[in-house]
Symmetry: D2
Subunit: 399 residues, 4 copies
C-alpha cells in the first residue's frame, strides 16, 4: 500500500497496481497541466496540477463510495469491483486534457472526452487498467458519462453534474491553493450524507435529509468559487490572450490530432515555446501586459438590458473589434444547478424523495439560469476611463 | 500592553486601562455566560463564553476601524477618541445579558439593553470607562444603537444590523467552536473592503466594490450558521424546556429587577440551582430528556400552506397543548438582510453607491423575509411516528 | 447511529447504547468540569470540558484501533469485543475527576482512579456498560492501568504513558481551544503508523519506522503544550490560590468521601459557592487578583544551582512564607519520555524493535528528566521589582 | 495599492512601483522555478514556485519590520527607507536561482549570489529599484549578506542564519503546500516577539523573553521540515538523478555563463528539453524510475560507527560505484542552530541578553552539529533486499 501525503485529504492510499498506473507517462504528464490554467495570474499560488487533483478525486470518490456502501448493506465481490472501478475512473478522468484545457480545446477543436477514449486505448494504459482486473470500457463509460453504462449511480459519482467526486475535490483544492476561504464546504458531512436511492427503477445518488445543510454549503462553495476565481476578470482576459497565442503557435491544429503528438504537449511546453515568439499575445503573457481592460461587469439577476445597452454603446464608441463580451456560458466551471433537466440533487425526506430545491430555501433561490457578463475593451483602442464612465452612466440610468 | 491569545484572532492586545476594565466583576461574569446558551446540547464543543466573544468583538472592531481610517486620511486626535470608543463599546456590548440570554429575557421581561444602561452606571464601571478618557454616555449610545449618537457610522460598526463587528466575531467564533465549517467567511477581505461613504449628508458604513464577494461570503455564513446552529431543533427544544425551568426557579421575576441581584446570576448558577429541583423541566435538562419531538420543519420559500395544514392537523389529532410551533422570528440570531428598511449594506461602485442586492445576484436572491418553521409535539401526548407520518402525508400532497 | 459534531475530529459516531451511557448523570457532569481547570485565566478560550474530551478520546482510540487491526489481519468476534471495550473505556476514562481535578485531589486526598472504581460500580453505570455487552471489570482495568489486565496493548492505548488515545486527543484539543499552534502534531500519520508488536511474548504498542517523524511531532507537541500552557505561570498561581479557597470551602474533606456527594460537585458549583466567600483566595479568584508574582523561571538543562541560589536569597530577603517554589513534578501533565522505566515508545525497524530514542535523534535529545522550576513571591510581602532584580543578578553571575 | 491573495498570508499589499518590479521578466521567471525542486516526487502538491515565496517573504519581512519599529519608537523618514529596502530585498532575494537551484549550481558552478549581482545590474531591474527611490547596492548587500552593509539588523532579517524572513516564510509555505502539519510554527507570536538589541555597539535582531516558546516552535519546525521534506530520500534520489541529466543536457556549462542565457532557463524548460532525451537519467525522471534504493538511514546522535561500517560493507559487497552516501551537509536547507559561530538567536531576559540555548532547554538540546546520513545503492547493481539486510545486521550488532 503506497501512502501519499496531500494537504487537502492528508493521506491518500494506493494499491500497488494503482501506483503503477500513476507512473505511466500520460498520468505523469498531468503534473505539467495546471488545474486552474492561467488563474495564477490572479491568484499566484494557484499553481496546483491536475495530477494532485486526480489523486484527490480518487480519495474523495473512495470516501463517498465507502459511505454509500455502509448504508447499503456493506461490501460484496460485486461492490469490490465497483469500488476499484470508481477509483480508477477518478484517477484517470482528466487524462484527456490538453495544455490550458479550455483554450486548447477552443483552438484544436477536439473535446477532451475524445482524447480520453484514445488515451485509454493506448497499450500501456489498457494493460495498466486490466492489471487491476477492471474492464477499460467500464472506466471510459464513467468518465465520459455514457448514459448506457451499467453503473448509473457511479457515473453520477464520477462525472455527474452535481454530486460528483471530481467537483467535490476540485472545490476544496482550488479553495486551498488560491486561499479563497469561502470556497470551503462541509465535505465530511456531505460525504456522510450521501445515499443511494431508486427512482423509476434506476439507482440515483442523493442526500439524506440530515445532510441538506451540507449540500447547501456545497452549492454555495460552487457559487463563491465561480464568483471569486473561475470567472475572475484577470484570468478571463489572459485566457483570451492565450487563445490568440495558441492560434499563432498551432497555425494548423490538425498537427496535434494524433494522440502521440497531443500527449507531447503540456502547459510547460506551451510556455516554453512562447518564450521567443514575437507575437503581441506571447509578449503579453510573458510580461503580464493587460491588452484588455474591464469596462463593466453584470451579475445581478436576469435583466440584461444594462448589459446590452453598455455593449452597444462601447461598440459604437470604440468600434466592434475593440469590445469583447465575456459570458458565463463560455467558462468551463459552470454555475450550480441550472434550470436544465436533471441538474438537480435528490434528497430523501420523511415525505419521500424530493428535488433539492424543495428541501432547501437557499438552493431554491440559487437555482436557475445565471446571467453573468463582463465587458472588456482593448486598451489600445479605448480609453479605459472613458469606457468605464460610459458604462457607469448607462447602469445608473437604468437602475 | 497586555497580549491575549485567542484561537480566532491569534493575538488580542489591550491597553492597561482596558485590561483593568476586563478584570471588573461584571466583565468576569461573562466567563460564566455561554455565547450560544444551550447549543452545546447539539454541538458539545459550543462551550465558549461571552467573555471571549467580547475580546473578539473588540479585536474585529479594531481591525475594521483601522482599515476604515487608512482609507479615510489616517489618524487624528478625534479619531483616536473614536478608536478607543469603539473598542470599549465592543468590549462591554454584552455586559447586560442574563443567564441563557434569550430565555432569561423571556422570563424576566427586561431587555438586555436596559440592564446594560444600569450596569454602565455602576460606580466601578463608570470609573473604569472614564479612566480610559471616554464618555460613558457615548459608549452606551453605541451599544444600544441610539439613533441620536454623534457617531452614526461607529454605531453601525458596534450594533448595526449588517456590518457590525459583533456579528463579524460571533460568526467566526461560533463556527470555530461548533466545528461548522460553512460558517466561516472571508473576514480578512471583508474588513479590508470596508469604507466610509456619505448618504444624504450622513456617514454610512459600506463596502468597496472589490469586496462584494467577501460580503456575499459573510451573508452566506449568516445563513449557514442560522440553518445549522442557531435554529437547530435540539437547541430550540432544550431552550424551551429551560424556559419552563426558569419559570419554576423564579416564580417572582421582580426579585431579579435590582441590578446587583441580577449580576449575581449566570449560567453556572442556574444549572447549579436546578441540580435538586424535582420539576420535569429541571430533570429533562439534567438527563437530556427530549420532552418534545420534531414532527416537521419548513424552510422552503414563502408558502406557508403546508406548515399551517400540518399545525392544524397535529393540534386536532393530539390536542392544542401537545403542539409547539417554533418560528424564526422567535430566535435572537435573525436571518440576514430581511425586507425591513435599512437592513441593507451599501456598496460603492463605479456608478455610485448602491444597495448590496443590486451589486450581487446572490444577495438579491437571499434577501427578503424568511419563512422558516418547526413543528414539535410533546412525546408524552403524541406518538412521534404517527405525528411525522401525518405531516409527511400533508407535505407530499401539497407539493 | 448518533452523529456528533466536533471541531477536532469533525464527526464522532456513537452506537445507541453508547449514546445512552453518555446521557447518564455522571457523564453529563463532565460538561461542568473543564479539561484545563483554570488555564482560562491565561488562555481565555480554554473553556472546553472533559465531556468533549471524552468523546474525542473515544474517536481517537477508535481510529487507532481500526488502524492496528487493519495491519493485524482484520476484524474478528474477539476484536469486535476489544473495539467496543476500548471505546467504552475511553468514553468513561475521566469520570472520576473532581472539580479542578488536581487541586481537588490535593485537598480531598482521594485519587481519581479510586473514584472511577466507585462510579463504575453505580447501578446505572454498571447497567449501561453491560448493555453494551462489555464486562465493567475490563473497562476499569484499562482506565486505571491495571497491569493484570488481559489486554495489555489496549491498556497502553487507553492509559499508557506514551501512545495513549487520551493524550492524542487532549493535545490536539487543548491546542485547538487555547489557540496554541505549536501543540498540533501529525495525528493522521501517527495513527496510520501504529502497530502491534510482541516483546518477550507480550503484545506492545509501537510505531512503524515510517512513522518516526510523526512520533517526533507528537513528542514535540507534548513539550510545547507543557511549556506554553500546562506550566504557564498564570495558571499555576491561580491553581495555588484555588487550592487555598478549596481548603476554606471544604474544612472537612471527609464530607465528600461518599461517591454520591462527590458527584454533586463540579467546577460550576465550586465557583458558585465561592461567590459570597470573604476569604482572600475566593476574592482573588473572582476579581483576578494575582496574590503571587513570578520572580524567576528556570528551564535550561539540569543545573539547579541558579534556582537554589535564587530560592535561598528570596527566602532570606522576604521570609520563607513569602516564597513559593513550583516545580514540574507538581503538574499533572508531565513532560515527555522521562528517564523512568517503560517510559518509551517502540519502533519497528528493519533491524528489529528498538526504543524510540535509538530511532530518532530528536527523541534521544528530548528524553530524560526535566528540571523546570518557577519561583513566586507573595506580592504583599515582597516588592516584585526587587525580587526580580535579585534573581536576575544571581542568574547573570552564575551563567 | 495592489492586493494579492495568498493562502499563507491571506493578503499581501504592494505599492504600484513594487508591482511593476514584479512584472519584469526576471521576476515572472520565478513562477517557473519551484520552491522545493523535485520534492513533488515525494509530496505531489509541493508544486509552489519561488514567485509566491518571494511575495510571502516580503509579507513576512514587513510584519517583522513593523513590529520591530513599534517597539523601537515608531516610524521616521530613515525608517521609511529601511522599510522599503527590506521589502524590495526580500522580493528580489531569490532572483538569482537557476532551474532546480541546488542541482543547477552543482552542475554550472556559479553561486546564485553571483547571479543575483548580475541580474540586479540589468538596466530594467536597476531602473525598477531606483524608481522605488532605493539604492540597488543596499538591496544587493542585504541579499548576499554583505558584512559591510550599513544595515546589519536588516541583513539578519533578509539573509541571516536564524531570524530571517526568508526562512519564516518558506517554513510556513512548504508546510502548507506539502501538507506536513508539523512544519507549522507560531509565526504570529514569533513576529510579535522580535526586538532590536545592541551588542558591542552593533544592532542585533533578537527575541523578547516572552517569545521563547515561539522561538522553540520555530526551531522545531526547521527540524521537522528537514526530517520530513528537505532530506526525504525520494527527493534526494531524484535530485541526484536530475544532476546526472543536467550534465548530459549541458555538456559545456560555460554556455550558461552569460546572464541573458542563464535567465532563459527555468524548471519548465529543463523538463521540456529532457522530453526526448534517451539518457537513463532523463527517462528515470519522466517515468519515475528509482535508479537508486535506500539501504539504510542514520539520524540518531553523533555516533557514525554504524554508518561507516554499513558504507564499507555495501561497497565491498556491491562495488564502490554502486553505493551513494548522502549526508546532511549536501542539502541546502540546513538543520537549525549548528555549532558554527554566530549561529544563534539572542534573547532579551531580565538578566540581560543571552544566547537562545541558555534561555531554552529545548534549543540547548537541539543545538549542535547533526550527523544524518543516508546510504543508497544502485538497484541494477545490488539486490535491495540483500543490501537492507546487510545494513540491518550491522546496525543491530552495534546497538
Amino acid at each position: 500500500m503506497k501512502r501519499i501525503f496531500d494537504p487537502v485529504h492528508h493521506f491518500i492510499e494506493l494499491e500497488p497496481g494503482e501506483a503503477r498506473l500513476l507512473d505511466l507517462a500520460p498520468m505523469q504528464r498531468l503534473r505539467r497541466l495546471r488545474q486552474l490554467g492561467l488563474a495564477y495570474f490572479a491568484f499566484p499560488a494557484a499553481e496546483h496540477s491536475r495530477f494532485t487533483h486526480a489523486l484527490g478525486a480518487l480519495a474523495m470518490g473512495t470516501r463517498a463510495f465507502d459511505g454509500l456502501i455502509r448504508h447499503a448493506g456493506g461490501m460484496s465481490p460485486e461492490r469490490d469491483y465497483e469500488r476499484r472501478l470508481v477509483r480508477t475512473a477518478l484517477l484517470l478522468h482528466d487524462v484527456g486534457h490538453g495544455p490550458f484545457s479550455h483554450a486548447c480545446e477552443a483552438v484544436l477543436g477536439i473535446p477532451h472526452e475524445a482524447r480520453t477514449r484514445e488515451i485509454l486505448a493506448l497499450p500501456e494504459m489498457r494493460a495498466g487498467i486490466e492489471a487491476l482486473d477492471i474492464d477499460p470500457a467500464d472506466v471510459l463509460a464513467l468518465i465520459v458519462g455514457d448514459p448506457r453504462t451499467r453503473y448509473p449511480a457511479l457515473r453520477e459519482l464520477v462525472s455527474g453534474p452535481n454530486l460528483d467526486a471530481d467537483r467535490m475535490d476540485y472545490l476544496l483544492r482550488d479553495a486551498y491553493f488560491t486561499g479563497v476561504v469561502s470556497g470551503r464546504y462541509d465535505a465530511d458531512q456531505l460525504v456522510a450524507s450521501l445515499r443511494l436511492f431508486e427512482r423509476d427503477g434506476v439507482p440515483v445518488l442523493g442526500i439524506d435529509s440530515r445532510g441538506v445543510v451540507a449540500l447547501e454549503s456545497f452549492v454555495v462553495a460552487r457559487y463563491m468559487m465561480f464568483a471569486s476565481v473561475y470567472f475572475h476578470h484577470t484570468t478571463r482576459l489572459f485566457e483570451r490572450i492565450l487563445q490568440e497565442a495558441l492560434h499563432d503557435l498551432w497555425p494548423n491544429p490538425r498537427v496535434l490530432d494524433p494522440i502521440d503528438e497531443f500527449l507531447r504537449w503540456d502547459d510547460f511546453r506551451v510556455l516554453n515555446e512562447l518564450r521567443d515568439s514575437e507575437s503581441e499575445a506571447a509578449r503579453a503573457l510573458r510580461e503580464r501586459i493587460r491588452i484588455y481592460g474591464l469596462a463593466a461587469e453584470f451579475n445581478a439577476g436576469d435583466d440584461l438590458r444594462a448589459y446590452s445597452a453598455c455593449e452597444t454603446a462601447l461598440r459604437e464608441r470604440f468600434g466592434a473589434d475593440a469590445v469583447w463580451a465575456d459570458e458565463q456560458s463560455q467558462v468551463m466551471h459552470r454555475l450550480p444547478l441550472g434550470a436544465a433537466k436533471g441538474a438537480t440533487a435528490w434528497v430523501g425526506t420523511a415525505s419521500g424523495l424530493v428535488e433539492a430545491r424543495y428541501a432547501s430555501d437557499l438552493i431554491a433561490k440559487l437555482s436557475g439560469k445565471a446571467y453573468w457578463r463582463k465587458l472588456f475593451v482593448r486598451r489600445d483602442r479605448a480609453d479605459m476611463h472613458e469606457a468605464r464612465a460610459l458604462c457607469a452612466e448607462i447602469i445608473a440610468a437604468l437602475r
